[in-house]
Symmetry: C2
Subunit: 239 residues, 2 copies
């Protein structure tokens, strides 16, 4: 309970988590929601491929905010717009907007990886736990309540009004917790996210999620992070 991170030289007080891919299996959750939507409308659709297409529009949409090309918009708004884009690409249109709103809210209700709840609960006994996600607060609260994620605190990207990898996104939650960046550790399955967190002064723990993009898509980690494991429970044991 007094783990000192080599990269920052500081005792860690809070362990904050990337969410999409690291804590929850967005691809399976969204494919299930899309599959149900497609069945209702008699659409012949590869639900997993549709999930990938929808998710593929995530970074470009945030980049328009990060670059200043558009004012801050919540991830709920971006997910909804990106759904329209993914449908348009397949030549699909004419759906009830309220039904599309509901489908886009599928990002609020994603299934956790099997180790996430127990791992966060274990870490919570010695550290402040929370998401450090591009998700907005209401999305993260709905997800936590549904999946039973035992966060101490939820401060979404609409609190920092910044999207990772903007340094402000990494620093804002720690600042509200009264912590220096070096007292905060980001746990994430994506090395660019960890690299940006380190650049912003945070410690970094890598969690391999080889199934994020489906079977056979795993890549080996290349960076040297403070901690590395294949589950949140494994990270909990190392802390």
């Amino acid at each position: 309970m007094s783990y000192r991170a080599p990269s920052t030289g500081r005792v860690i007080r809070a362990v904050l988590f990337d969410v999409f891919g690291t804590v929850v299996d967005w691809r399976s959750g969204i494919a299930a929601a899309v599959g149900a939507f497609a069945a209702r409308h008699g659409l012949d659709l590869d639900a997993s491929a549709f999930a990938d297409s929808w998710r593929g529009r995530y970074q470009p949409a945030m980049q328009r905010v990060r670059s200043g090309a558009r004012p801050f918009a919540t991830l709920d708004t971006l997910h909804r717009e990106n759904l329209d884009g993914a449908l348009r690409e397949l030549g699909l249109s004419g759906f009830d907007p309220a039904e599309l709103d509901e489908l886009a809210r599928g990002w609020h209700f994603l299934p956790p990886w099997p180790d996430s709840v127990a791992g966060i609960a274990a870490i919570r006994r010695g550290y402040i736990t929370g998401p450090l996600s591009n998700g907005n607060t209401s999305l993260l609260v709905d997800m936590a309540k549904t999946a039973g994620l035992p966060w101490d605190v939820i401060l979404g990207s609409d609190v920092s009004r910044a999207y990772k990898p903007d340094p402000a996104a990494y620093r804002a939650p720690g600042a509200l917790l009264g912590l220096d960046p070096g007292e905060v550790m980001l746990a994430a399955a994506h090395e660019p996210d960890l690299a940006a967190a380190r650049e912003a002064g945070l410690a970094a723990a890598y969690i391999a999620r080889p199934l994020e993009y489906g079977p056979g898509t795993a890549k080996a980690a290349t960076g040297h992070w403070d901690l590395a494991g294949t589950s949140v429970t494994e990270i909990a044991g190392l802390l």
Copy 2:
């Protein structure tokens, strides 16, 4: 689980709580911390009276922020300054500043009223729960972890950067939860707090805390609120 508030006509989705006095017994907690401090220094001090004096500086200090006379400062900062003021009034000085910092952090670690944890847990099963407090986020997180307050979300006054009864303080947490003001209910032991919440569009539940200022200080409620009770568990039963 689908309580409609008469005052707003809306189904309530989140029940947010005033904290100091409503959820925790600040006076006993601060008197205990002050008593230990006084004993260490051999001071002849009425610890409960000192707690009242310290707390008495709370509203005037926030008023300077609300009025714009000073920029936003966290409640941690105001508590620390107010401690200096309360000591000065008694002609006490010369203490180690780090020890005074620690004493001021006593506001992070206050005991809950006996019904608070069970009552919040019960309400949480059907509603989003969180504080709606003038406390800063780190204070509220420390308090929740120590007292075991099962909040879904903690958004301190340093997120809204506004102090109650500023309407922005009442509306900011609900907005981050994706809710209209009328879908949010404030639960509080102080009628001026409830009146300001109602003015800002929220529903209001009154919880009597006759011991907040010590025995024999109870006042009867005069307002007509959506709900009223003598404990959080009683409010949970009414929802």
